[in-house]
């Protein structure tokens, strides 16, 4: 289980996270929702060790992550698919996937096969440069690359960003499949309704704090969610 306890993170004088607590139980998909600037990406960057926390703790299966180097965190099975995909544009698809398995020794043939099963298009394009793929294919590559590290917990930062609706649906479906195969998922989304459609449990952030949490059913019809995005009074 991944858990954050009262985590605070600041950029200079701006506190981007003002003490958030959240739990991602094994086997779940948990969505982290909120408008732009709410602190979602900051939370993921803190989990992955790119940002130092100023207070609180982050741990997975009772092992503290918040003082470890990013590569140590990957070794402990927490792997992030960053916002904007960030595939290595000049590396081939296969090289990108190999880099995903960097911290592991031994054969990666099985893992490659698994990724190609999820994303057959990557198998067809394994020699092509990552930068030459379409947006949707790059998103698949980014997810596939992270899967190469055999994550226990997969962190996904806005996988739907900039994708056409049809592709978004496809990506969400794959995320559900990956989860069904035993990978715990923490999904950051601005696209609230779509994230809620696959998540078991959700947290809503606003300006660095958790303002709402619950199961998808609980959150879906609440005006609070809408309000936290649009700042509209619940009455409308």
């Amino acid at each position: 289980m991944l858990s954050l306890e009262a985590v605070e993170v600041g950029y200079g004088q701006i506190k981007a996270l003002k003490g958030i607590t959240l739990r991602v139980s094994d086997g779940q998909i948990v969505a982290l929702l909120g408008a732009n600037g709410a602190g979602k990406t900051t939370a993921l960057r803190a989990i992955s060790g790119l940002l130092r926390t100023s207070a609180g703790s982050i741990s997975v299966d009772a092992v503290r992550l918040d003082r470890l180097a990013p590569e140590e965190i990957v070794r402990r099975g927490v792997v992030q698919v960053p916002e904007g995909r960030r595939v290595f544009a000049g590396l081939s698809v296969l090289e990108n996937l190999r880099m995903g398995a960097y911290c592991r020794d031994g054969s990666i043939a099985d893992d490659l096969e698994r990724v190609y099963r999820y994303f057959p298009v990557l198998g067809q394009r394994r020699r092509q440069a990552g930068g030459s793929l379409s947006g949707g294919e790059q998103q698949m590559l980014a997810i596939g690359r992270a899967l190469m590290a055999r994550p226990k917990v997969l962190l996904l930062d806005e996988p739907s960003l900039g994708l056409a609706p049809k592709l978004v649906a496809e990506i969400l479906k794959i995320i559900r499949t990956i989860n069904a195969d035993g990978v715990t998922v923490l999904l950051v989304e601005q696209n609230a309704y779509q994230a809620l459609s696959i998540a078991h449990y959700s947290y809503v952030l606003r300006v660095g704090r958790v303002v709402l949490e619950g199961t998808a059913e609980e959150l879906k019809d609440r005006n609070d969610v809408v309000r936290s995005y649009l700042g509209r009074q619940a009455a409308g």
Partner: protein
């Protein structure tokens, strides 16, 4: 006539269409909002207006003048001023210097200034006087000589506004002014922007995703999504507009469908 108008503006980044024929018209004297979800193209349009971004088709007119061929430094001379998304101050300088740099367009003959000729010194004196007035207006008198990088966040925000207004613009462009602000700071900023609009008679165009700000201060808003206009109107109508809600929260999908 509109103070600022954009017609059919296109911007492409490689294959990506950041702006796909966007229109905008800002009437003089208003506080106008430009909103949309992440990646909608609002910052790109903002940068087209302030001349940081060239566009491939369409036209932008300011007071009837075509901006197409101008550079960023020309925009200020025409009476526009802008702020930046994540505060972009001259960090090594004092509050006073930042405001003075904001008055660059009024420097006069640079040679006279450089050589401290009498005319240059007179003008420098006048600029400094005016800069102090600006500082006073924004409650910055106590921190005039402090390096801005050491100032608290709220002060830095106000220095940036004071710097932008130092050139006495007719149009003020604000790029996500409340990014990183808490609710109290947001309220304070709303007050300041309203005062600028009312008391200094400055038209304001604000790019924002925080809806509480938009609702509180804007007379009218234009909503973009995927580089196109999707709605325009008064804030209250817009926030209930189905297309806008969908743009922000995504399509409604039945859970676990």
């Amino acid at each position: 006539m509109d103070l600022l108008s954009a017609r059919g503006v296109h911007v492409h980044f490689g294959g990506l269409r950041a702006l796909d024929g966007v229109d905008l018209s800002v009437p003089p004297g208003s506080i106008y909002g430009l909103i949309g979800p992440n990646g909608a193209g609002k910052t790109t349009l903002f940068n087209c207006i302030s001349r940081f971004q060239p566009y491939s088709a369409g036209a932008i007119h300011y007071r009837g003048r075509d901006l197409g061929a101008l550079g960023p430094h020309d925009a200020m001379g025409l009476g526009m001023a802008r702020t930046f998304q994540n505060i972009n101050l001259f960090r090594s300088r004092s509050t006073l210097d930042n405001i003075l740099i904001g008055m660059h367009a009024r420097l006069g003959n640079p040679l006279a200034a450089m050589l401290s000729l009498p005319s240059g010194r007179r003008r420098e004196g006048a600029l400094r006087g005016r800069a102090r007035q600006m500082a006073e207006m924004f409650g910055l008198t106590d921190v005039l000589d402090q390096q801005v990088v050491h100032l608290p966040f709220g002060y830095q925000k106000r220095v940036e506004l004071a710097r932008a207004l130092a050139s006495e613009p007719t149009l003020l462009l604000l790029d996500e002014p409340v990014a990183g602000c808490n609710e109290e700071e947001t309220r304070e900023l709303c007050e300041i922007v309203r005062a600028i609009n009312r008391d200094l008679n400055v038209t304001v165009l604000v790019v924002e995703h925080d809806m509480s700000l938009v609702r509180a201060i804007c007379d009218e808003v234009t909503v973009l999504d995927f580089g196109r206009n999707i709605a325009r109107g008064a804030p209250v109508e817009i926030l209930n507009h189905p297309a806008v809600v969908e743009a922000y929260l995504g399509e409604t999908v039945a859970p676990h469908a």
